[in-house]
Amino acid sequence: MRIRKNKEKRFLKIFLPTFFPLVICLSLLVVPSKFSNHIKTTLSWPLVPIQKTFLTAGTAARNTLLWIPRSWNASSRIKDLEEDVFMLENMVVAQKATVDRLQTELASVTEYYREGVLNQKPLMANVVAYDTSDLRNSMLIDVGSSHGVTEDSVVIADAALVGTVSTVGKSTSRVLLITDPASKVPARILETEDVGVVEGGSGDTCRLKYLSRWGQRVEKGYKVVSSSIGDVFPDALFIATIADDIDSEGSPYRTLRLRPRVNPNRMNTVMVLKK
């Protein structure tokens, strides 16, 4: 009798409080994603001002650390010019794609393109926080449904594609970056017009998949731009440059490793294209 009572006491005192949190956590996994996303945005909202301050302080500290060697060899001017050139290069790529289209397609298609681009209204947003996960890549921005942001809105920075909005809160949104394993962007190689899908991996790079194995010859440094297939992304947004060819023997498709044009971990402001 006494042993049984001791067992019951032990169960109530140790086993129940130890396993109860696990049961709660497992039950959270079956909550519908819409509801759990709502919980996430609501719970993370109070941290936003502190995160903003920390990110600003972190960026300022990093810039100071970068400024010391820069001022040492008087290269800050070069850096500024490099940033301008970077931006202009991205714009040139988008322009080049438009020009190519104008030369080869009919006038009605060109009109459709122009309308498609102008229909999306740009909205500036600050990056508030990054993903804490080890394998996922996303970031939190300080605009939400109250600013007109909707799910699948396209996010760009320096005229290059960064990702799409995956979760929308009232005043914050989570952006799924092109390097995230869940990200899929219809794309084409600017130089060859070969069409594929840009998918994220687990690191800082992404891959261009489902290219025909018997397509045109592709070289390192070729530019990959978005395709308007599916009506989610605007046409000809610079995404990445080709870094490497991944040999996938036995597959009817070819896969290329890409280096994203912009590093999402090094940006403070982005532009959301509202639909």
Binding site: K13, I14, P17, T18, F19, F20, P21, L22, I24, C25, L26, S27, L28, L29, V31, S33, S36, I39, K40, L43, S44, L47, I50, Q51, F54, L55, G58, T59, R62, A129, Y130, D131, T132, S133, D134, L135, R136, N137, S138, L140, S166, R174, L176, D180, P181, A182, E199, G200, G201, S202, G203, D204, T205, R207, R257, N265, R266
Partner: protein, 164 residues
């Protein structure tokens, strides 16, 4: 006192991991302070306290990431329970033993996360993932030395007496 410190740590880590740590990553790999605290809780606190502490850390990580709510919390709580069961067989007062447990737990956790992502999206690059698992776990284990001293200082007196 213990819960105040743990919740303060959870909030502080949440802010650091979501802001500054993204900029100090090595090859895009970041240390996981949430896991460090979950494992050290399991090694230094009673099983029920460790389980709740790991659950809080996991939920904080879930809220600030793209992963499904409850995934990291389940992983962390499971790891804390398993370590809690085995901790009497480990010489827990040694820093090396604790760092080794953090390393093994980190490899298991990162491997499990990679498996979940691969099953969900079928889309993981092999080399960066392996680098993330092994380099990230080593990075995490090395940085666990700091929190180890924090736990050594603030661990409940009762437990300290049990050990000595």
């Amino acid at each position: 006192m213990l819960w105040t410190i743990l919740i303060a740590c959870a909030l502080f880590i949440s802010i650091l991991e979501s802001t500054i740590f993204s900029q100090i990553g090595f090859l895009g790999i970041r240390p996981n302070f949430f896991l460090i605290f979950a494992v050290l809780s399991a090694l230094n606190l009673d099983p029920p306290e460790a389980s709740i502490s790991a659950c809080i850390m996991g939920l904080c990580k879930d809220v600030l990431s793209e992963e499904p709510l409850g995934l990291n919390a389940s992983f962390f709580t499971g790891i804390a329970i398993i370590i809690g069961i085995w901790r009497h067989k480990i010489y827990t007062n040694s820093i090396l033993a604790q760092l080794l447990v953090v390393l093994i737990a980190s490899i298991v956790y990162r491997g499990g996360s990679a498996l979940v992502v691969w099953l969900s999206y079928g889309n993981l690059a092999a080399l960066p993932t392996l680098l993330n698992i092994f380099v990230g776990s080593t990075y995490t284990a090395v940085l666990a030395a700091g929190p180890y001293f924090l736990f050594k200082t603030f661990r409940p007196v009762r437990l300290r007496q049990d050990i000595h």
